[in-house]
Assembly symmetry: C2
Homo-oligomer: 289 residues x 2
């Protein structure tokens, strides 16, 4: 029987991959985005998660088997300029979703995507901490089937605002313009646990099907890489000679590796190497530019 999955944040980087992935796997996908989007291969609904009544209607109308909650503010800069808005969207938006499920669709299994950030250095991190904690509390208080997924740094083809994509876009622009300029970059030595977004989406499917409710799952590649290593991979994939201008930035505490043991017990393994992901990102920008 076809399972119905409602995916929030469906116009975003991960959301687009998730809609495509679950459609291909023959789920009935309902993508939810703030604004109406047409011409997708899957059903779309427009809904602002801050509009409680609209969220309630969404679940009353569709009663999905699964919900993958990807929507939210994910910009640190925006969270500094509009901190209240970050908390409202990430926490209260999530709560509207959980309340809709509690009241109208209590058998729906939900994956809420949290953040790998372990520190609370900015309002974004604080909002994600609260989102995760509140989701688990709500699940426990009202016996809802809620799982929290904490992915590491997601990369891959598509409209990502992350640094790995920003680099690719600049490299492809130079290829097209036949003009070489140094690329400004900060944090060359800081380490990140990059994970292909498609590996993350596959993990979300496993969690929706087999994850233990009230649990948190960390999802990561198991490898730390510096941006310097990323730039060297880009160099191996373009004929231009790349030069980088290192911009000063505050030193960061290195993040911890995700503990993906529980994911591996569910037979999940990342499929994309860092080189494959980066090569696909470059191809994506070469096609769209």
């Amino acid at each position: 029987m076809t399972k119905k999955i409602l995916i929030t944040g469906a116009a975003g980087f991960t959301g687009l991959h998730a809609c495509e992935y679950f459609s291909k796997k023959r789920y009935h996908v309902i993508g939810v985005a703030r604004k109406q989007i047409s011409d997708q291969k899957w059903q779309m609904e427009a809904c602002d998660l801050l509009d409680k009544e609209r969220v309630y209607c969404l679940f009353k109308k569709h009663r999905p088997d699964y919900c993958l909650h990807l929507a939210g503010v994910n910009s640190v800069a925006q969270s500094w300029s509009e901190p209240l808005s970050a908390v409202n969207i990430n926490v209260i938006g999530t709560l509207h979703l959980l309340e809709a499920i509690r009241q109208f669709n209590p058998d729906c299994k939900v994956v809420v995507t949290g953040s790998a950030l372990s520190q609370s250095d900015h309002p974004y991190a604080v909002s994600k901490f609260f989102q995760q904690k509140l989701s688990l509390e709500w699940g426990r208080l009202f016996n809802l089937s809620i799982i929290v997924a904490k992915p590491s740094n997601l990369i891959g083809p598509g409209p990502s605002a992350g640094i790995v994509s920003v680099l690719a876009e600049q490299i492809v622009k130079m290829e097209k313009d036949k003009k070489i300029e140094p690329i400004s970059i900060s944090h060359l030595e800081n380490k990140r646990e990059f994970l292909d977004v498609r590996d993350a989406v596959a993990a979300y499917e496993i969690l929706l099907n087999k994850g233990a409710i009230h649990s948190t799952y960390e999802i990561g590649s198991g490898h730390m890489n510096t941006l310097d290593e990323v730039t060297r991979i880009y160099q191996s994939l373009t004929e231009n000679e790349l030069t980088f201008l290192s911009v000063n930035a505050n030193a960061e505490n290195p993040p911890d590796l995700m503990d993906a043991k529980k994911m591996k017990e569910l037979d999940w393994q990342p499929q994309f190497s860092l080189i494959e992901s980066i090569s696909h990102i470059l191809s994506y920008f070469r096609v769209i530019h």
Copy 2:
């Protein structure tokens, strides 16, 4: 120089005591309640904390030196029937207040009153946990002067919905009606750390003046008493023969005693014994009935 203090929840049990206390101590008191209240000896403003713009106006207009934030949902039953509303009022209402202070009145010193509840057994406790944690995070992120106070079980004369007041009201009603009926009561053996509301308000003043910002202070009497002991005190203060009908209720885990060491280092000591508090509660109901 007269210090200006804005007190939210000014129509509530603790709020009324706080307004009276700070007025007597010659602070300029601005009491804030959801609905307009006249005939108070102090200035009152009507403001729903969920109305962000109204909250901003309040702080732009008054720019208080201190803010004592007492407003919020404090009913466990209401938090079960309207969980979203409990989180909205306690968390987002508080955030509106902190945002007003951050933007228009960053030197204001704030005491946010949390809850002694250490478990998250109901939406009320969850909302109070988030309120406290978010207040401290906001203070730290934006360098605001925020202190969290965690009082134990407050009792005292005035419009309290707590069990100690409910008992007094029934006892006084029997005195007036000259009719004796058994009083239903649950949790006779459960222990509570009762503290007089006036002692708590005195502690809040000390915290506003001398408390260390970004800190949490527990405020308690240091004594655990059962409701059975409370009923025996009531018996000693009324001429009627009291009988109690013990109603079954789920057994509770006994709460921990508050750790008031940090308060004592600021020279705070409770002034009211349990017998004094109970005797004043009884007098309060004898006068108003």
